[in-house]
Symmetry: C2
């Protein structure tokens, strides 16, 4: 195989109660990359569009992931040339760096004959997350790679569980065009939490997982509570309270901050409701005259994760 075209999806990490462990993949927006085998060893980033990112491999998420993967590939004489087309803005809270990292790892694995297994691929992608966020969390790269809902059970050993996606689940995401760095959004969190809050949180995590298996939309909605992170981070998000309140009025199941923000997601049962929620988000932002540009995405859950097409 000479060339792989890679489509890597946006993802929502945390999903309210599941801070640092839960995530899901979206069908929109999607990053594109082209990976080509090169006769020159190492990684060569020839083109980046859609974001202001370094072309130096050791300073680029895609670059460090590919370098790591090449390093682990036995008896390999090839390098990789890569073109990057970003549609998921860095600092958006919908897994921009994870899309780059996951896409690079999955694409390169395909390019080199699927040598690695899924947990290896996740490990490579985590190198990219570490460069981008200062810490290698898998809650975005896992759903980007595996699709659907995922749960990071543990890091040592790395154990990721695929969870079922309710068929009629739709997601509406508003991305206010301000940047929040994950590393900054982590700094404001507390190192200790109240036991009473932690208990409520893991009660909701259990309920959320149960709701996914049972396809119970009402239970899913009621489990979307976050007693620990949202109360601290919501001040970073423009009009968070208003968005949540008004979207609930039009019948969304619930929602919260996507990753570390600024994007906010809402779940709905069915497309029609998800579109009403999008209208509602527009209404809130326009009415409050926030003077912040925004993008809105309406998507089903992406059950496949990174998608590749290739030329032999």
């Amino acid at each position: 195989m000479k060339e792989v075209q890679v489509y890597s999806p946006a993802t929502i990490a945390n999903v309210c109660c599941g801070f640092d462990v839960m995530g899901l993949a979206l069908n929109e927006p999607v990053d594109k990359m082209i990976l080509r085998k090169s006769h020159y060893p190492g990684v060569h980033i020839s083109n980046i569009q859609g974001a202001d990112l370094s072309k130096q491999p050791n300073k680029n998420v895609v670059g460090v992931v590919l370098e790591e993967l090449l390093h682990h590939l036995p008896n390999n004489k090839y390098g990789i040339e890569v073109e990057i087309y970003k549609n998921i803005k860095p600092g958006s809270g919908i897994g921009s760096s994870a899309a780059s990292a996951a896409g690079a790892a999955v694409g390169a694995n395909l390019l080199f004959g699927k040598y690695f297994k899924t947990t290896d691929i996740v490990q490579f992608a985590l190198i990219g997350e570490k460069l981008a966020c200062g810490i290698g969390h898998a809650d975005n790269v896992a759903p980007a790679i595996m699709g659907g809902f995922t749960l990071v059970k543990s890091y040592n050993p790395l154990k990721i569980i695929s969870l079922p996606s309710p068929k009629k689940l739709w997601v509406t995401v508003i991305h206010p065009q301000i940047e929040i760095k994950t590393s900054e959004a982590r700094k404001i969190l507390k190192k200790e939490v109240l036991m009473t809050d932690a208990i409520k949180q893991w009660g909701n995590v259990g309920a959320l997982v149960s709701a996914l298996y049972r396809e119970d939309y009402s239970l899913l909605g009621s489990s979307l509570e976050d007693f620990i992170v949202e109360p601290i981070r919501l001040k970073l998000i423009p009009a968070f309270h208003e968005l949540k309140r008004e979207c609930k009025k039009v019948g969304c199941l619930g929602g919260g901050i996507s990753g570390s923000g600024p994007s906010v997601f809402m779940f709905s049962e069915g497309k029609e409701k998800a579109c009403s929620v999008a209208d509602c988000m527009r209404y809130v932002y326009n009415k409050m005259d926030l003077k912040i540009d925004y993008k809105i995405y309406i998507s089903t859950v992406n059950n496949n994760g990174v998608y590749c097409s290739f030329t032999n």
Copy 2:
């Protein structure tokens, strides 16, 4: 209906990672009660065997639950006479007070024509738990009433979720005959926990719930970790480390402290393994010459909860 014979099961609360939210019912041991309609209003405890408990209704778990239930029954002229036969020792950590409370609430509801719904019955039973433990936790009464595995999603509103039980799951419980009061075992816990531990804990809760739905015994075993409560409470339990280590050697899936102890439970796939685990527990206690009497129970999961037979 004049008389109800009630069989109320032992329960295991917490189930390692699910502190204060998870629980399951056992088929053994089981308390028995007989409830009879009485022409004298109020609650009359005529007989208690197997434990040294007060016959004054307002100082007895069964008594306070029945009083509360009678209080909420409209247009009722009857009282209740009750006989109590305890097989589950108070302070054992396998839901002795919960068995009394749950049995009283379910039995009396049947005696009076099933007037109340399940959440009401749980609420009545919680009055008993509050008397016994100083705090009205539902993680024992919920599985005692509903059977199987349960998750207390929230208290306000009270929302309890029934979870599936893997068919080949067996439970071995050792009950060292020392008493640990739940109220004392709660006092030694910390009010704050590390965020990093809390995250690991809810990752495991999600994995445990997932394992129950998937009937995945390996995942079930690996999710039985408790980073928050076990490290503090294990010092109350005779030979806890040795029990856990040796039972794992003979192939149990995992386990931990049952409720607030002193009982320790281990899960196994299949009866044969559960019996080996029982032998192993005996071996550990005898070898260490602990001079503590103990009882061992081997049981499947009780999927029905409180069982009643009656005479019209």
